[in-house]
Symmetry: C2
Subunit: 162 residues, 2 copies
């Protein structure tokens, strides 16, 4: 029995090593899940959104390229007003779960990896789902003018059946 | 001493639990790092690339939107030929470490979260660094025609000082 007792300190050393590695790995995993590709940018302060959203303006439209590109982070429950883009828009869903709806069509659920092509001048809205944030890249052609902002998305519209 | 000996089986149970959790966490971390937002798509088989690259064509240019959007994954050492876009291109770096070079300028290092705006008709190339893959979203206007493919990027050009 004495021989086995001699292993007790060694056993505790192994326990400590295992736990220590586990803690490091968990920290790395947490950092990874928080580590978005693009920073969430500045809080949007205009009244074109219901709720809290953040914009990181990645590319300004200019004479070199007529597209504006931005990363938008919608906190849960947050959505845009109804609006329309004179040259349309492409949405790339980077993270979370969101909604997208065109006037006259049911809202659709948009998840990480989904792509939406929104035609020119079609009123629509997008945003996060009730319980999960939504992160999107928006690619918006500015060659035909600025976004036309329309009415607020009502709670009834927002919570409508997908 | 007998009392301490009684803890030996318990110590081994804790060791096993700690190691088991560690293994699970490491697997999750590996899955997370492999879990790209967009699938890498199809292996590119044309001769416009040196090395191995993959294309996931997310958006085709059409009458609704004149931009094509694709996710390209370059394996380490892989690069495009020199080429030029009649309406320019926007590159969003999603993962890894890559290179971008315009004719007459030094190559630059492009990393996860970086954005490059490539002017119209400027010959350039892009690709992965020697040791690390590179994943990018390319936004390419098709309204002025297709990409003009030029000469191969030599090893000297590829390995040039950033």
């Amino acid at each position: 029995m004495k021989k086995l007792v001699e292993y007790i300190p060694l056993a505790f050393v192994f326990m400590f090593m295992a736990c220590d590695n586990k803690a490091k790995t968990e920290n790395a995993a947490t950092a990874e899940s928080d580590n978005m590709i693009f920073a969430k940018g500045e809080k949007i302060t205009n009244d074109n959104f219901t709720g809290t959203a953040w914009l990181n303006s990645l590319v300004q439209a200019d004479s070199i390229n007529q597209n504006a590109v931005g990363s938008v982070t919608f906190e849960p429950g947050t959505r845009t007003k109804w609006h329309a883009h004179p040259a349309g828009q492409i949405i790339l869903a980077l993270d979370g779960v969101g909604y997208y709806q065109e006037k006259g069509s049911p809202k659709i659920i948009v998840k990480k990896g989904d792509v939406v092509k929104c035609p020119a001048n079609i009123p629509h809205w997008h945003g996060a789902s009730e319980d999960t944030k939504f992160v999107q890249i928006a690619i918006t052609g500015r060659e035909k003018g600025e976004t036309a902002w329309l009415e607020t998305v009502t709670d009834e519209e927002y919570h409508g059946k997908p």
